[in-house]
């Protein structure tokens, strides 16, 4: 397929099923009553368990490792030591870029699996055995403060850079447009501000596990919790040919993506694989601490210089960050993509020290937070309504909306849609912004707490169908349809919306279409279910495959069949013999003649006609298996979809406690496939965003580098009483690059809202607070701590 004509946003939206509420996800009851089998529930006959030794210190080298007592613990089958040359150690596939190698003698961060792992008959035996090992350590310099690391001559991460404590070989400039210095000369005001964002960590729902087994003919089965299936196939491929690998995905507790998860899931899988290969018994690897491995891209210091005019128009932005955004360097990427600010510059330096290298999860929080802080500060400095400041700066790549419009209309996008304006209209009304917004520090609640509101906006996320995906559709002997995919590690409910798309495109009843998980060994790369490759990426393959499957069915509906029985040829005329597929259509799983709708045949009739008289002839089904691959549009310009969010807080100036009273979240999703699922991503992501913005902070011991709160008792995850009522609004301007102009939103609910409480706390108390807005940070801003 040539991408010259691949313009999926021009595809017509089917009139039924898409956009409907009230459908129940096909796996909902199973999940609700707990009979859904998750990876951590998988048990195989005669199964062993395998666990890493996890370093609690931030730095050090193993001088001597004595595992003699470990080996004697009841139930221990094997100790996998880093210095055992007989073991085929880690694959290069599991050492992506500058990620740390595991299971060697060197500790680079607290939580790092080093030294050895234990294979035993139970998890308990593994735990007991690990405790019996005696390690003699060589103490090495340890630093968990990035400023100190930058100033130090000691090296903390020679694995990444043996020269100095800077990753990526020094300072970089990113996302620059225009001339910032020139811009500062032509604006009414210049402000400078800075703040700190603490480290937070993903805390996936399900502890990381993987199950692997080899049979005596070297066939390998794996139950993998994660997204990067192909990587794992490559790793096992170093032991056995890839065509002997059978990958399964059980249900997976929410893991929120990004390179951190890929590394953790990869190393968890690798441990199960190597233990199973050595012991020739099924092995389950368990890495509970993995939930707390990973630092968010946002952490670090942000220092801004901003030039703007009296009317709120921003002229020049210069941002300097230390420590954040490691994977992307994308602090101002969303500002660039969604504003007409003509002069932008971002310099950054990523120090290396004894924490896990920051990455992303629910990617984009650093960009969303930067945009939030920029606009909140400018609006505050001007004492202007921040929604007005947003509108005046809306655009993309330094151009105004008006400047972007002609090209966009020419490319087939609807004319005259102003996403931000539409989002603001809905959101301000639903949130009652006009009565809630006030000047900073101007409203006290009857109970003495200060009232504040926060606002943020940015582009819609995942506007880009940035990679090709494939989809398979199988029509069964009874006329039902499965869409073939593999379940991936994130939680969003995509099974339902994807089935809706296929049913709508084919003309099937929704109940007849099942989005079939765990069916990925079909000879091509099936879709990852969700995450960054959600709707925006996968929809193209789904629609194309559904259209192809429909066309295939209509062709067979017109084609006479011949059945061979007992040596005889029995002719079977097609229900639409003599007609051509273009004269037919489908609705509710029934094929009909367009000019004579009473002339019908069910899908089941057509399949059975051509599948033969007996379903034993399964090979005939292949006639009704179709697959299609999506493409990447060659025209992808500035994103025009927008999102905006509002939050209302109460701040207790005595205790510093910030309570979230209410929120309103507005997302332009282009075209809504399933509004219930979209709402789920909105309120779900918001809850996580508020955790990151208002509560969560990883605490380290400054001397040993040990993490002090890597557990759910001391690392606060928000609960049902912590977020207040949330109003979710959907806008559909059809301005995305995916089919029907759709846009994904799986990450932005969390990523775009992380800075909201900082903006709201300023509105409440007239002071800027570091992120998260914990009582300690609020009291510090108030001069009370």
């Amino acid at each position: 397929m040539s991408n010259a004509h691949y313009e999926p946003w021009k595809w017509e939206v089917p009139k039924t099923i898409i956009g409907e509420r009230g459908h129940i996800p096909p796996d909902a009851h199973t999940k609700v009553v707990g009979t859904a089998e998750f990876t951590s529930d998988v048990v195989r006959p005669n199964m062993l368990y395998v666990k890493y030794y996890i370093a609690q210190r931030g730095a050090g080298r193993i001088k001597k490792l004595d595992t003699s007592k470990t080996e004697q613990v009841d139930g221990v089958v094997k100790v996998l030591r880093y210095d055992d040359k007989s073991i085929k150690w880690a694959s290069d596939t599991l050492k992506p870029g500058n990620m740390t190698t595991f299971l060697n003698d060197r500790v680079y961060w607290a939580g790092h699996p080093v030294g050895f792992a234990v294979v035993a008959v139970s998890e308990y035996a593994c735990d007991q055995a690990i405790k019996k090992a005696v390690i003699e350590w060589e103490d090495l310099p340890c630093e968990v403060d990035y400023n100190k690391a930058l100033a130090s001559k000691d090296l903390y991460r020679e694995d990444i850079n043996p020269q100095n404590n800077i990753m990526d070989k020094g300072e970089k400039v990113n996302n620059a447009i225009g001339d910032v210095e020139e811009g500062f000369k032509h604006c009414d005001h210049i402000i400078e501000f800075e703040y700190e964002i603490a480290e937070n960590t993903p805390v996936s729902a399900e502890p990381m596990t993987c199950v692997c087994e080899f049979d005596n003919d070297d066939n390998c089965k794996i139950w993998f919790h994660g997204q990067a299936f192909n990587t794992i196939e490559e790793v096992v491929g170093e032991f056995v040919p890839q065509n002997k690998i059978d990958m399964h995905s059980a249900f997976n507790g929410g893991t929120f993506g990004g390179p951190i998860s890929h590394q953790c899931e990869g190393w968890t899988a690798w441990l199960a694989i190597i233990a199973a290969y050595i012991t020739r018994r099924p092995c389950k690897s368990v890495w509970e601490d993995c939930q707390f491995v990973g630092a968010d891209e946002c952490m670090g210091h942000h220092k801004w210089k901003v030039g703007y005019n009296n009317n709120g128009k921003i002229i020049a932005v210069d941002l300097d960050t230390v420590a954040s955004g490691m994977m992307i360097g994308g602090e101002i990427s969303k500002i660039k993509a969604s504003t007409c600010i003509p002069n932008l510059r971002h310099t950054y330096v990523y120090p290396l020290y004894n924490r896990v290298v920051p990455g992303v999860f629910r990617d984009g929080a650093v960009a969303g937070t930067c945009q939030n802080m920029l606009f909140a500060h400018v609006a505050a400095a001007l004492n202007m309504d921040p929604t007005e400041v947003a509108l005046i700066n809306d655009g993309g790549d330094g151009k105004t909306l008006a400047e972007l419009e002609p090209k966009r209309v020419e490319e087939g996008f609807p004319a005259g849609r102003d996403s931000l304006k539409e989002c603001l209209e809905k959101g301000k009304k639903a949130f009652n912004w006009s009565s809630k917004y006030h000047a900073a520090g101007a409203r006290k609640l009857p109970d003495g707490r200060m009232h504040g509101v926060g606002f943020t906006w940015t582009e819609s996320w995942q506007n880009w169908p940035y990679r090709r995906t494939r989809c398979g559709i199988n029509v069964r002997y009874d006329g039902t349809v499965d869409v073939i995919y593999r379940r991936s590690c994130t939680g969003p409910l995509v099974a339902l919306p994807y089935a809706q798309v296929v049913a709508a495109e084919m003309g099937m009843k929704l109940d007849d279409v099942i989005y079939q998980p765990d069916r990925h060994n079909v000879g091509f790369d099936t879709m990852s279910e969700a995450s960054s490759s959600g709707v925006a990426t996968n929809l193209g393959a789904l629609v194309l495959a559904a259209r192809k499957a429909k066309q295939n069915l209509l062709e067979y509906a017109c084609k006479d069949a011949v059945t061979f029985m007992f040596g005889m040829e029995i002719p079977n005329p097609a229900p639409f013999t003599g007609l051509t597929p273009d004269k037919l259509d489908m609705k509710d799983s029934v094929i009909f003649e367009k000019s004579n709708p009473s002339h019908t045949a069910t899908v089941k009739q057509v399949v059975q006609l051509h599948a033969g008289w007996n379903p034993i002839f399964q090979h005939e089904y292949s006639r009704f298996f179709t697959e299609a691959e999506s493409d990447i549009p060659n025209y992808m310009d500035t994103a025009l979809g927008r999102q905006c969010h509002f939050v209302e807080v109460a701040v207790d100036t005595n205790t510093g406690k910030v309570d979230i009273l209410s929120a309103c979240l507005v997302n332009d999703v282009g075209t809504a496939i399933n509004p219930d699922v979209i709402n789920g991503q909105q309120y779900g992501g918001f809850s996580m965003g508020m955790g990151r913005g208002n509560a969560q902070e990883v605490v380290y011991d400054p001397v040993t580098g040990a993490k002090l709160n890597d557990n759910m008792v001391f690392y606060p995850i928000l609960g049902i009483g912590d977020v207040g009522p949330i109003n979710c609004e959907i806008v559909e301007t059809k301005t995305g690059y995916s089919p029907y102009g759709a846009v994904g939103l799986g990450e932005c609910g969390c990523a775009a809202t992380m800075g909201l409480t900082a903006a709201a706390v300023y509105n409440a108390i007239g002071k800027w607070v570091d992120i998260p807005t914990t009582p300690n940070n609020v009291l510090k801003a108030l001069g009370k701590a």
Binding site: G22, P25, D27, H29, K31, V32, V33, G34, T35, A36, E37, F38, S40, D41, Y53, A55, Q56, R57, Y124, D127, K131, K132, A133, V134, I135, S204, A205, E206, P207, F251, G253, G254, F256, D289, Q291, F292, T490, G491, L493, D676, V677, G680, Y683, G684, S687, M688, A706, D710, N711, M712, V713, F714, I717, L718, G719, I720, G721, V723, P725, I726
Partner: protein, 224 residues
């Protein structure tokens, strides 16, 4: 520093290890545990002890101390209306016993068994408890209800939860469901505040919280 020193941190210590290593000194469970732990390693005799448990029952336990020092006993419970028995090690938590011994997979473990997530919840003798925080032996003879059972009896909560999108990844959901059932058993028409109070110990990383309030109220009205 030895690795043992390295391992001494709260998060790395499972409930089972804590019980095993420290002995139990809290509540009624202490009697049972001390009886069990007082037996010598390698002692094969049978110990019979009457214990008072945290679920306010008196039970008689027979404990066999195997050659390797592992203390074994039987756990008898009424699980989801059916009498069940399984062989357990004396230091197992109720979660271990139900999951590993009886195959109850609705009991999850989001917080590494430190009592902070609610994903392992079950109703024991009418009260919702965290099964990772209860010693199995102290629940001997108890009536236990898990989320699976609500599916079997088609409790209105099940459909209300399914249709209101209370499960995204679904890992936490059975824990919420069974806690909600315990609430409805006690308060058939709960207010929003009652629901928020009752579910305060349940964590959902996918953030499905608003839907539980809707679903529980809907189920309270008979599923409408």
């Amino acid at each position: 520093m030895s690795s043992e020193e390295n391992n001494k941190k709260t998060s790395g210590l499972t409930r089972r290890e804590f019980i095993k290593d420290a002995g139990i000194v809290v509540g009624g469970a202490s009697v049972a545990s001390m009886a069990l732990l007082s037996a010598c390693k390698g002692d094969t005799k049978t110990v019979t002890q009457t214990v008072s448990t945290t679920v306010n029952k008196t039970v008689t336990k027979t404990v066999t101390v195997a050659e390797d020092g592992v203390e074994l006993t039987d756990l008898h419970v009424i699980l989801n209306g059916e009498p069940r028995v399984c062989h357990i090690e004396a230091n197992w938590t109720l979660r271990d016993a139900l999951k590993e011994g009886m195959g109850v997979i609705s009991l999850k473990d989001m917080c590494n068994g430190c009592g902070a997530c609610g994903s392992c919840s079950a109703i024991v003798n009418g009260r919702p408890i965290l099964t990772c925080m209860a010693l199995a032996v102290e629940c001997d003879g108890a009536e236990i209800e898990t989320a699976e059972h609500l599916g079997v009896i088609n409790h209105p909560l099940v459909n209300a939860y399914a249709k209101n999108f209370c499960a995204q990844c679904g890992y936490c959901t059975p824990g919420f469901l069974i806690t909600a059932k315990a609430l409805l058993d006690k308060k058939p028409n709960p207010t929003d505040e009652d629901i928020i109070d009752a579910l305060g110990g349940n964590i959902c990383r996918c953030g499905t919280y608003p839907q539980h309030i809707i679903a529980i109220k809907e189920a309270a009205k008979g599923g409408k």
